[in-house]
Amino acid sequence: MPKGKEISEGSTIEFTLKEKNLKGKVLGIKDSYLNIKLENGYNIMVIPDEIKKIINEDKINKIEREYSRESGQGTNISVISTGGTIVSKVDYSTGAVFPSLDISEITSRFKYIEKSYHVRSIPFLNILSENMEPEQWLQLAHKIVEESKRSEGIVISHGTDTMTYTASALAFLLKELSVPIIMVGSQRSSDRPSTDSYLNMEAAINFAASDFGEVGISMHSSISDDKIALLRGVRARKMHSSRRDAFRSIGENPVGYFQNGLVNISGPYRKKSASTSIFEKIEKRAGILYFHPGMETEDLSEYLEKKLGVVIMGTGLGHISTKFIDVIKEYTDSGRMAVMTTQCIYGTTDLDVYSTGRLLSRAGVTWAGNILPEAALTKMMVIMGNYPDFEWQKRMVTDMRGEILQREEIGVF
């Protein structure tokens, strides 16, 4: 770049590159490259030195657009945004995605929604879901209590990565619900014409107006844009890293579906209650440990030192190497809790079947049927935060929110 020239972001410049005169808009400087959008729409990345000559520069102000936080009329629905891509916008020059609160962008796609629902957008967090922490679950639960007083349903937009953790945590934190809590996300970001976000959100708003008194998840049931599933939060899991239909109910069918504008909830579910109430605390000193051959006894013992409770993802019906028995026994003897789950994901634990299981059971390991590891972790955090320790085990093995299935039928695996 010619010396003395300072190029500012957003300006339009004429310049010479590789002996050709070009015109473009400067989008920014990234990793010492100038990012320029040419007139034909293509972006190029140029090292400033490569630009031999700047013919002209026009500085242009950025345009700020207004957005609406409320839209439509009818049933009151609150959409609490935690920063998932679903209510995000893309900066079309850089391709960067940033969160938006313009709720009308979603609702205006579906005219009947504008007519039937009054949707309010509540900014709450703006984080990537992998950065979600237990404290924020508690804050979110409080926010839900607040919103439940003025809305008939709550939709929570959330990144898909840890959505089932948050859904489980909320399910356990919320003792009773006077409104449906519907989590929604998208696997294709909203900047793509093919995004799944609008359909997922349309379904979520409709689910939120039902009498579903639980924490649910509203996501595609297949890779087609035609049927959205309502999954029970404590039994759902993100089972594919990229597909639209990544979320699956483990061991049961989805509670309901949304298709052709209609909600159909066919599975058993808890109806909403008269009021919403919550547990006030959450115990953070809990974690998940994934057993594998080659794991050392110190791996386990050092990890356990820091935790009041641990969810072990064992093999098969809930096994780990028998060399760990002593460490585990010492741990549970000291009043702490070890809960066994299975890394198979599907199916139940049962420590009565094989000798290792029976040894673990005798060493104080708790097993709670087919509870999922994510549900076990969040349930443990809520139980340990709010109940005396002598009740922990009993609570853990007792179904609270549909997280322990009593029956698994043929078609759900």
């Binding site: 590789k18 034909n40 293509y42 893309v90």
Partner: protein, 606 residues
């Protein structure tokens, strides 16, 4: 040859399919249906509504469902269910070679962009495209054109069917690498366009990397004659360029004249439809009766000063309007100039004219639609007329079978494009550029000469190999020892078989057959037998077997010959041996054994 206006400018966008697998995944170029399909809806991206692209908005106004048929050369990437993989290095290097071939400048960094296309032809709603280089020149004979850009992009889905609001696509073509070479609008004749396009295509052919197939070369033609740029999409046959351009010129000239008249009359006013279902009471027009029976309304609008311009003599503004309406799925429109017709009587025409209080030069439109659509439809018509009257004919048009063109959508603007964030910026290293220069394709005739000389085959054969797209297989296999044999099979036997059995043998299969036979030191007869069996539909795994393709050797042959009675015709003997053994046999070996035997027989007889 043609009577051309002086100010015409032609530019080309030549799209060449590269035969090197898909651009952003590991699928192959060729594939078949799996029988599995899925459906999608595309949304105009919210973020674009501000500084958005007109062509995108245009598509978004049409509510359509897209159905995609998964082919066995598609994967989660094509389904838009997985991020794109890293760019196909072979395709990229091919694009760089092509750029070098025309002396274009290659960018040091390639940024993959998303070009929004929401007609369903891309499952994602955008096409991935990247600018590779610019500058350079195409020359051929007396013609030449400057290159404006060289891009590497993904091909789109292949449309299978359109019915109602459902469009069905196959995924087999989606993601195939396309090299797009765009020239400046510096060509001044259709002949020039044809020659330039031909030269561009031949370079990739010369590399042996053009995909086989009817649509492997497609060109868009940019054309202007002073009324704005028209982009004509989908000109697949080169020779049609002349006729297409002539018809487009005729269209624009007629348009110019009609507009002149219209403006002279004082221009127009925006139309506005009013319902009048009773006006057609007692009509015998089936078209009207069917429409009203289907619950549609009779909507009428006055078109100020439009009389005898919509369809009269050379004037066809009616078609311009109808084309625009067709894009939003509206078909039932009639106008003054074409009546009486469709069962509508002169008297009824007069009744409408009276009702709309038509002036001397006014025309009218009859729209058979539900009233609720009236506003939307009139907007589309008004926009269309306003644009034409302003003398701006710029738009994207589609080339039709009859070499006319049809309105397709407004021109795309640059705001259709934003970066593909899933793919990091690709550095073009010095090595890559050196490689591109070294391997840049030469003009076809030079390539032909070089190949002919190097492998000792005739220039015709070399040319055939190149045009048949078997040159890369030829080179590869010829290096293993017997270029003439390989050439003979590829140039003679293969086309003969394909013609006879009416089926194509793909390059992968060809490569497998040669590789197997050459690895086993089996010769021409083995390759031919393998190809024959393949063209009969026998699966490869049942053919490429040692016990199947090993030629009958001399001692075996000697033994076999004993049982053959008629020993005059070598070809007949050969057929018999093959039918006995199911294995190939070398005719010359038969001749040799025959010689030996007749000698020994002779000996015995005497």
């Amino acid at each position: 040859m043609m009577d051309l206006p002086e100010n015409i400018k032609i530019g080309l966008e030549v799209h060449l399919q590269v035969n090197a697998g898909k651009l952003f995944c590991s699928c192959e170029s060729e594939g078949r249906d799996t029988g599995i399909s899925f459906t999608r809806i595309l949304h105009a991206s919210s973020g674009e509504l501000g500084g958005s692209d007109v062509s995108t908005l245009y598509e978004a106004s049409r509510e359509r469902i897209f159905k995609y048929i998964a082919s066995d050369n598609s994967c989660l990437v094509e389904y838009d269910e997985e991020p794109p993989h890293k760019i196909n290095r072979n395709a990229l290097n091919t694009a760089l070679m092509m750029a070098s071939s025309f002396g274009s400048q290659i960018l040091d960094r390639v940024v993959v962009m998303r070009k929004v296309v929401i007609d369903g032809s891309n499952t994602s709603g955008f096409q991935r495209t990247s600018l590779i280089g610019f500058g350079g020149e195409v020359r051929r004979g007396n013609y030449k054109s400057k290159i404006s850009t060289i891009c590497l992009e993904e091909d789109a889905c292949r449309k299978v069917e359109e019915s109602g609001n459902m469009v069905t696509y196959s995924l087999d073509r989606l993601g195939i690498p396309l090299i797009e070479i765009s020239t400046e609008p510096d060509i001044t004749s259709p002949e020039g366009a044809i020659e330039v396009a031909r030269e561009i295509g031949e370079r990739l052919i010369s590399l042996g990397l053009l995909r086989k197939g009817a649509d492997s070369i497609r060109q868009d033609v940019n054309f202007s004659m002073g009324n704005g740029r028209v982009e004509i999409k989908g000109v697949s046959k080169l020779n049609a360029i002349g006729e297409i351009l002539q018809k487009e010129i005729d269209r624009q000239i007629a348009l110019e004249k009609a507009i002149e008249i219209w403006n002279a009359r004082g221009g127009t006013e925006p139309i506005s439809f009013v319902v009048n279902n009773s006006i057609m009471n007692g009509t015998n027009s089936k078209m009207i009766l069917n429409a009203t029976e289907a619950g549609k309304d009779v909507l009428l609008a006055r078109l100020k000063n439009g009389r005898k311009l919509l369809k009269s003599g050379e004037f066809r503004i009616g078609r311009e309007i109808a084309d625009a309406l067709k894009q939003i799925g509206i078909k039932g429109i009639l106008h003054y100039d074409e009546l009486p017709a469709y069962g509508i009587t002169l008297e009824e025409k007069q009744r409408i004219s009276d009702f709309l209080e038509l002036g001397e030069h006014d025309s009218f439109l009859i729209l058979l639609e539900e009233e609720s659509n009236a506003q939307y439809v009139s907007n589309v018509i008004n926009n269309r007329i306003e644009k034409l009257l302003s003398g701006d004919f710029s738009e994207t048009r589609a080339a039709m079978e009859d070499n006319t063109t049809r309105f397709m959508r407004p021109l795309s603007g640059s705001s259709r494009m934003y970066p593909e964030t899933d793919i990091p910026v690709i550095e073009i290293t010095r090595d890559m550029i050196e490689n591109a220069i070294k391997n840049a394709p030469l003009p076809l005739e030079i390539s032909v000469k070089e190949i002919s000389t190097k492998y000792g085959i005739s220039p015709q054969d070399a040319s055939t190999l190149i045009w048949n797209n078997t040159i890369s297989i030829f080179k590869e296999m010829a290096e293993r020892g017997d270029p003439k044999m390989v050439c003979r099979i590829l140039v003679q036997k293969l086309p003969e078989l394909e013609r006879k059995k009416n089926m194509k043998i793909d390059n992968k299969t060809l490569r497998n057959v040669f590789d197997f036979c050459l690895s086993n030191n089996f010769g021409r007869y083995s390759v031919e037998m393998a190809l024959e069996l393949i063209s009969d539909g026998v699966p490869q795994e049942k053919i490429l077997l040692q016990e199947k393709l090993r030629p009958v050797d001399e001692s075996e042959l000697t033994e076999l010959m004993k049982s053959i009675e008629e020993k005059r015709n070598i070809s007949a003997i050969s057929k018999e041996i093959v039918s006995i053994t199911g294995r190939p046999v070398d005719s010359s070996l038969i001749a040799k054994v025959l010689g030996n035997q007749s000698r020994s027989k002779h000996l015995n007889n005497t």
